[in-house]
Symmetry: C2
């Protein structure tokens, strides 16, 4: 989210992973790993070489946070126990299916929230001071 906000903020100008890492306060390779996932999902484009860097592949208003989430988060957050339950037990033999259904519903709810928001919304949200400064004066 932080990376995409920076890219949207920069508005088409390609940013280097080192610059992004400085804002996020981490290592450039960590950023490049994330950019790689975002690139595979078609959200950003990157270019190697001098004057290289990354920028949004699509307008920030058209990138939903749901897409970002799915691009970056490879596995389910909620997941089953590592061992299969005891299939001899009437509860154990059916609980997996029940919980899978529940997790699907939870997942859909998360998607619902994230689908309503965009990277452009993040940029607006991190700009409270600039928005305030843009107005000439607070009326009353």
């Amino acid at each position: 989210m932080h990376v995409l906000t920076l890219l949207a903020w920069a508005d088409e100008e390609p940013l280097k992973s080192e610059y992004l890492a400085c804002s996020v306060n981490t290592n450039p390779v960590v950023i490049r790993r994330i950019l790689c996932a975002l690139s595979r999902a078609g959200l950003v484009t990157s270019q190697t070489g001098a004057a290289g860097g990354s920028r949004l592949a699509r307008p920030a208003t058209e990138i939903t946070l749901r897409e970002v989430y799915r691009a970056v988060e490879p596995r389910e957050i909620f997941s089953m126990h590592r061992q299969r339950p005891n299939q001899e037990c009437p509860v154990g033999m059916n609980i997996e299916g029940v919980l899978e259904g529940l997790l699907s519903e939870v997942d859909a709810a998360v998607d619902g929230v994230l689908a309503e928001k965009t990277v452009a919304g993040l940029v607006e949200a991190v700009r409270p001071r600039r928005a305030a400064k843009a107005r000439p004066r607070q009326r009353a």
Copy 2:
């Protein structure tokens, strides 16, 4: 969820951690750790000693999965990056608050789904065969 379904299924009869562990297919201590959290949240009661065990503290129809989730899951699933972002950067200095707000919304959505469901609902859901067997015959 699995443990509470078993306790509700047993209907007031106290179950031992070893029995529960057998159905979940794990170690009794793992189960006891979970029972301990559920007990602190007032969802189950346990008794030491011979003929001891655990049972629901309240009717299964009145225990929502939201309560279960909050009782067992100590930390936020989605969380911030381990390092604070760069406070010199206009994006870095504001992104934390923005993301906290987003995570609150996601959390609320998850709560919304889980609050609608109860342990009794889980018991019903794992009983498809018994429900079918309860009816004398499938009509047509």
